[in-house]
């Protein structure tokens, strides 16, 4: 169900629990079998001390929240800029949320400027960034 878009409107939250199975499923789907994600004995010897989720898995959850809020406006007219700040690990519960910062109009087309973040259960930021979504123009 799409939200009514207005400045200050909250996006989400969407909550997701990460398991090693989730990470393995993502590796199989995406074809990204980097051992830092899927090889527990390899990952244990790295500075991470264990496996971590793919950054793009975390970003997929952000995109899910944006799709729930904006529908087709997001999937065929969205832009995002994301920074991966920390790694999500098996056992983490991620909460993805955001907000519509402002709505701008350019050439009769409105754009929603949003921020988003993904935090783990300790409140640490895993991913943060900004997104712009093209809203319907006056004539549309």
């Amino acid at each position: 169900m799409l939200i009514e878009i207005q400045e200050g409107k909250a996006l989400g939250p969407v909550a997701k629990h990460i398991t090693q199975e989730t990470i393995n499923l993502y590796a199989e789907a995406s074809g990204d079998f980097n051992p830092i994600h899927v090889d527990e004995s390899f990952a244990a010897k790295t500075p991470f001390g264990g496996t971590i989720a793919h950054g793009m898995l975390n970003l997929a959850y952000v995109s899910e929240m944006m799709t729930l809020a904006f529908g087709q406006g997001w999937v065929s007219g969205g832009k995002l800029r994301a920074k991966f700040k920390e790694s999500a690990r098996p056992g983490d519960t991620l909460t993805i949320s955001g907000r519509v910062d402002c709505i701008e109009k350019k050439d009769d087309v409105s754009y929603a400027n949003c921020n988003f973040e993904c935090r783990n259960q300790k409140g640490e930021i895993i991913v943060m960034g900004e997104a712009i979504v093209r809203l319907a123009g006056d004539g549309e």
Binding site: N34, A60, T67, F84
Partner: protein
């Protein structure tokens, strides 16, 4: 699709990797949706398309053995919906290569086209590599 003709040291801004082609069939989309725990319609989730490009990227970049590449940031622009069953082409090039202390940063440009050569997505990925 690793590009065996070039080493990491030889990568320079402007270098283009050989394009990679993917068929976004129902089996792939279903596997992806299961992995990210989402339901959907007859279209491919935009991040599933990006996942193909990132996979192509990680297979393309000839990293030194044992290197752990960290995905530091990602920019994306979604231009077009893609139906399940479509074929896409991922084009990846080197935009920047930066050495910063004990880290090396590789900025890659991504462009994803459909069969009709229309742009589906574009973006930039920054990969950090401890040296």
């Amino acid at each position: 699709m690793p590009d065996k003709t070039i080493s990491y040291e030889e990568l320079t801004p402007g270098y283009k990797f050989p394009p990679a082609t993917y068929e976004l069939n129902a089996s792939f989309v279903s596997k992806y949706r299961r992995a990210v725990d989402s339901s959907g319609d007859g279209f491919v989730p935009p991040l599933a398309i990006t996942a193909c490009a990132i996979a192509a990227m990680t297979k393309s970049v000839p990293l030194p053995p044992g290197t752990i590449a960290i995905h530091a940031s990602q920019e994306l622009e979604f231009s077009k919906l893609v139906p399940v069953g479509a074929t896409i082409e991922c084009r990846i090039g080197v935009a920047q290569k930066i050495a910063r202390g004990r880290m090396s940063m590789l900025v890659l440009e991504l462009e994803i086209l459909d069969k009709g050569k229309e742009k589906v997505q574009s973006g930039r990925a920054t990969i950090a590599l401890p040296t």
